[in-house]
């Protein structure tokens, strides 16, 4: 995604010399099913409160859950996309009281999750292990009244169960990340995989993708795992990096002062730029997990798994590798093109004979809003005209914008716009006149002051209303100076 490469600067992320961060992520992903996990209520964000509810998702006495086939298929698809082995899954009950959980237990896979042991390869080549990706149901949504919406000062809580029972997959990484950038790349990559597979719309701001970060620190070179804190309420990739860095520095400060962090859940305070103490894990509930007696186990056959694999679309890592090879660059250089879903267009244009680097340049710089009506053949033809010097860079940009808006072939668009390559004789004449009018500047150029080159190019562009090709002007100037 676009903000993956900037945001928190590297200087902010570093813990002091001698310390290393240990980061594991738990990402809850809402699946893009039509209905909830255990009932036929619509899985729909943003509806009027308590309009997508039924006996099952309200936990009414006597109601029983039945598993949504599409949710299982999506979960297995995600598992296979993450390189997991798909295993027989058992739904368990996690027992605890909370008003947004209608049965006062959550149905979740515990000891036997559907997906185990996968990994995500980051664009920079690092591989982050995935412990499991299990299916569970979402909770309802609480609104705290009074106290400015702060839970501790609330006077009452209002509960909406539209989200209760929405299918989730929780993707649990191994603690394999050691800087905030890795965490951000991991989440970014996971999001791209979710979008590529259609498993989720993965919108952090709408909560359909929610990231909790487990953070600890240790002396560099050690392999110990020190007390970790789980950070919740992270609502964007930018927050993720900030929260991890803040928390890691907090741990380093504590250890340095001879203190130890307490194992607890902490909340990211976006405005304050800090994490605040939440529930202590020491008085953690006893969840009394046991297999949910209302739900028979899932046991996907080899054929089921093979069908999932066969239907798997090309995933971001493979797409990056393919485009990078075609262009002749490192995979990290084509991240943007793949994120924008323009890698197919680019590959086709390159296959049609266009120069790879030029195609990638246009995809990265000129197609922010997507390709629109632009075809691969059209792009290839345009890039070829550009490479042949038939159009200037400015003209190419204008023609490209028109092709995105309305389609068509570049030659006729250029023709209708009056873009024709200037012949060299016309440019020679203009340059002669400029040299006469600006002898001092020309003298400096001849003596090797390349800074004035732009002056001449600019003047010629002005005179030709942008029709001249800057590269050709440069060549002429160099020939004249040497001659």
């Amino acid at each position: 995604m676009s903000d993956s490469a900037n945001g928190t600067g590297a200087d902010m992320s570093a813990v002091p010399e001698g310390w290393e961060m240990v980061i594991g992520l738990e990402v809850h992903v809402e699946l893009a099913t039509n209905t909830k996990l255990f009932c036929g209520c619509a899985n729909q964000f943003g509806d009027e409160p308590n309009t997508n509810i039924c006996p099952v998702c309200l936990g009414l006495p006597g109601s029983l859950p039945v598993v949504n086939a599409q949710a299982v298929e999506y979960a297995m698809t995600l598992g296979r996309a993450l390189g997991c082995s798909v295993e027989p899954g058992i739904f368990a009950r996690k027992n605890y009281f909370y008003p947004d959980m209608p049965k006062d237990y959550q149905i979740s896979q515990y000891e036997e999750p559907t997906n185990e042991n996968g990994s995500i390869r980051l664009p920079d080549g690092r591989v982050i292990g995935i412990e499991r990706a299990h299916i569970e149901e979402d909770t309802g949504k609480s609104t705290h009244l009074g106290g400015g919406g702060r839970i501790h000062d609330a006077t009452a809580t209002l509960v909406d169960y539209n989200r209760a029972g929405v299918p989730l997959v929780e993707v649990v990484s191994r603690p394999d990340m050691h800087d905030a950038e890795a965490a951000r790349l991991y989440v970014s990559e996971l999001r791209d995989i979710l979008l590529a597979t259609g498993v989720s719309d993965a919108r952090m701001e709408e909560g359909s993708m929610r990231v909790d970060a487990n953070v600890s620190v240790r002396p560099t070179g050690s392999d110990e795992l020190r007390t970790r804190c789980e950070i919740k309420n992270i609502n964007s990739l930018r927050s993720l990096g900030r929260a991890i860095n803040y928390e890691a520095r907090r741990h380093v400060d504590l250890w340095t002062n001879g203190e130890a962090p307490r194992q607890e859940t902490r909340h990211w305070d976006e405005d304050g730029g800090r994490t605040t103490s939440g529930r202590s894990k020491e008085d953690a509930e006893d969840y009394r997990y046991f297999a949910c007696p209302d739900l028979p186990p899932l046991s996907p056959s080899d054929a089921d798994i093979a069908a999932i694999d066969a239907a798997m679309p090309a995933l971001p890592a493979a797409r990056r590798a393919a485009l990078a090879e075609a262009v002749g660059v490192e995979p990290a250089a084509v991240m943007l093109a793949v994120e924008r879903g323009l890698d197919g267009l680019a590959l086709d244009a390159i296959a049609a004979g266009a120069d790879g680097a030029t195609v990638l340049k246009h995809v990265d710089q000129n197609l922010h809003e997507g390709a629109g009506a632009l075809t691969a053949d059209g792009l290839a033809a345009l890039v070829t005209m550009e490479s042949d010097g038939a159009l200037s860079a400015t003209q190419v940009k204008t023609v490209l914008a028109e092709m995105v808006a309305s389609g068509g072939d570049p030659a006729s668009i250029a023709g209708s716009m009056g873009f024709e390559a200037m012949d060299t004789g016309e440019l020679d004449g203009l340059l002669d006149q400029l040299i006469v009018d600006n002898p001092d500047e020309w003298g400096r150029f001849v003596e090797g002051d390349r800074k004035v080159q732009g002056f001449f190019v600019g003047q010629i562009m002005k005179a030709t209303q942008g029709k001249a090709d800057g590269k050709v002007v440069n060549q002429l100037m160099t020939q004249r100076a040497q001659g």
């Binding site: 309009t51 309200l58 086939a69 839970i151 529930r279």
Partner: protein
Amino acid sequence: MSGEISRDEVAHVASLARLRLTDDELTTFTDQLCVVLETAAQLNALDLDDVEPMAQPYPLSNVLRPDVVVESLDRDEVLSQAPAAEDGRFRVPPALGEAP
């Protein structure tokens, strides 16, 4: 298993289950639960290491439903059954902390 449960354990279990017991109730329940758990201790006589646990009597698997939307309940009918409702939602006293 010991076959017994202490008064403190009964108090802890009651609090996990969101039940409040008077001192007298705690005494009575502790005695009664001890008797039941002594009966349960009969199971210690069995060698069950090679026996698989049975979660459900009729072995089924992959019981799934199609992903098709079914009509939801009427909100007013549902909220009319709620002890307190406000603004289309269920109203409860304030929560003390976040969910786990």
